[in-house]
């Protein structure tokens, strides 16, 4: 189950989206997400969805993969949509049964919310799918570099994020190994009340924590051996250069933003 999580994974490639400067990509993703929230009607949201599809196509990431990224969050999406159906009471009444009232307004809002959440997930996972975690953290570090007075702090946080991302798969593997080892010793993880099952996790998390501490210790050793001395005087193999492609990206985003604002004002009463 844990292995289904694709958010945070990176799929190397050479597409236009891959080649964008990580800093520009970060800004574009943030603007895109804000723009999704700015959408007030279906026309504006339609533009977002359409441009998202364009981005997916140009990123050459398979649709299957993107759908797999949504799957773990499907429950939240359906749940939110469901709540909206029953708690919005604008528009015509479609169905009435005792205290339950379903209106057109409710249904529209539900669909609107679902599309909005899905676009949010896709937009943010596209960032991690097409950018290596090191590049993302480097990008963040460089975007925040104007905060010079706390620059070393920025570097430290970026380094921590890189290492955390690096160790997610290792820890998942470790978790599986310990779970199997405890099951082989007769641990019962699948049955019993919620409290019992939570208690059964203790013998898994304790060894996991202990090995994590040991890993951290050894990693620190290894980093010291490779002359790590914080952010000062450090160079990077991959230089970040903004090129023509980044200008295209920014222009594309500007057009979307303009279109959404325009449509928001043109059709104020659609939803």
């Amino acid at each position: 189950m844990i292995k289904d999580i694709t958010i945070g994974q990176f799929f190397p490639g050479k597409s236009m989206v891959h080649r964008l400067d990580p800093r520009v990509k970060l800004i574009l993703t943030m603007t895109f997400i804000i723009t999704i929230f700015l959408c007030k009607n279906f026309f504006a949201l339609g533009i977002m969805l359409f441009s998202l599809i364009l981005i997916i196509i140009s990123s050459k990431i398979s649709i299957k993969l993107i759908l797999r990224g949504i799957k773990p969050l499907l429950f939240i999406i359906v749940f939110t949509a469901f709540l909206n159906i029953f708690f919005m009471s604008t528009g015509e009444v479609l169905l009435e049964y005792k205290f339950i009232v379903v209106t057109t307004g409710g249904v529209f809002t539900a669909i609107f919310m679902a599309i909005r959440i899905i676009s949010l997930i896709i937009a943010s996972s596209l960032l991690t799918y097409t950018t290596s975690p090191t590049m993302i953290t480097d990008g963040i570090e460089r975007l925040l570099s104007p905060l010079k007075f706390m620059k070393n702090g920025v570097h430290t946080v970026a380094m921590m994020m890189t290492i955390a991302l690096r160790f997610i798969p290792t820890l998942i593997e470790e978790f599986d190994k310990i779970t199997n080892a405890q099951k082989a010793r007769g641990a019962n993880l699948e049955t019993g009340s919620l409290v019992q099952r939570a208690k059964a996790l203790i013998p898994i998390f304790v060894p996991l924590f202990i090995t994590s501490f040991r890993r951290a210790y050894e990693l620190a050793f290894a980093m010291e051996c490779r002359c790590y001395q914080g952010g000062e005087g450090r160079t990077r193999m991959k230089q970040m250069k903004t090129g023509l492609i980044d200008i295209y990206g920014l222009a594309f985003m500007a057009v979307i933003l303009g279109a959404v604002i325009f449509l928001n004002y043109s059709y104020t009463h659609v939803i």
């Binding site: 090191t134 690096r166 798969p169 290894a222 051996c225 490779r226 002359c227 990077r236 193999m237």
Partner: protein, 281 residues
């Protein structure tokens, strides 16, 4: 200056321990040499490794790396760049999420020019035969491959000496063989000094010099030929001789004349064949 690492009467004790982990060790490692350090668990061999690049500092005595004292804090990064270190667990020494970015970590820390880093990374990955995997995620590689990436990460810093601290202990036989092949190549073709710490006897055979540690002291020091002929002494230190050596010594005890110490399988096969020939004729 033909010795790269020099220990002079070094004592080391861990803070929480009563016994010395390294007891009055004097040792000189020649430039370009391939040295294997043997010893059972807790014999002090890993401590010896960590002393070579000032991760640990000795309480008594002095350690010189290329003439630099490891206790001299101003030279600490020069020392670590000179003596690279590869550890036992490959997972715990890989920092980045992409192979080539991890290999670049060392040179980046040294402040090398980006274009040169690129060249060094490519060269290092080619040297360990992992160039095709440069875009892969480290956690999807096998143990032996991960360890080769770790070695590439060290080579990219262009060290003069590599210390491998039980780098093969967690690998399967095939991974071990690959690592041995890689470090032999580094030693012979790039002239990098290798200090290879292990408890597998068969791996120590390919070294030029074997050092045996027991109870925090060096108890034997010599060529593999010399060291492995003293089966009894090795037993006392809790170590075995390579299987083929043991076999040849049994054969010798049975009264067959053997000209020299047998260390490799090929030599053993030749020896047995020649004895059989004599018997036939």
């Amino acid at each position: 200056m033909d010795s790269i690492i020099k220990f002079e009467n070094v004592n080391f004790r861990y803070e929480d321990s009563k016994d010395l982990a390294v007891n009055n060790v004097s040792l000189e490692i020649k430039r370009g040499d391939f040295v294997a350090v043997l010893g059972h668990n807790g014999s002090g061999k890993s401590t010896l490794a960590k002393l070579t690049n000032s991760i640990l500092l000795p309480q008594d005595g002095q350690i010189l790396v290329n003439g630099m004292d490891t206790a001299d804090e101003s030279r600490i990064y020069d020392i670590r760049q000179t003596v690279g270190m590869v550890f036992q667990n490959p997972d715990n020494q890989i920092v980045a999420t992409v192979v080539e970015e991890d290999v670049a970590f060392g040179p980046e820390n040294l402040g090398v020019d980006p274009r040169e880093i690129r060249e060094r990374v490519d060269a290092a990955l080619k040297a360990v035969e992992m160039y095709e995997y440069r875009q892969h995620e480290p956690h999807k590689l096998s143990g032996g491959q991960k360890q080769r990436v770790a070695i590439a990460g060290v080579i990219a810093m262009q060290p003069e000496c590599i210390v491998l601290d039980e780098a093969t202990a967690m690998l399967d036989p095939r991974g071990r063989k690959d690592i041995l092949k890689t470090i032999r190549m580094l030693n012979e073709q790039l002239g990098i000094t290798v200090v290879f710490i292990t408890h597998f006897m068969d791996e120590a055979v390919c070294a030029n010099r074997v050092i045996v540690m027991d109870n925090a002291e060096i108890i034997m020091d010599g060529t593999p030929q010399e060291v492995f002929s003293k089966t009894g002494d090795l037993r006392v230190a809790g170590l075995d001789v390579p299987q083929v050596t043991e076999l040849s010594q049994w054969i010798e005890k049975e009264g067959f004349g053997i000209s020299k110490n047998i260390l490799s399988t090929d030599e053993c096969v030749d020896m047995i064949l020649s004895i059989l020939e004599v018997q036939k004729g």
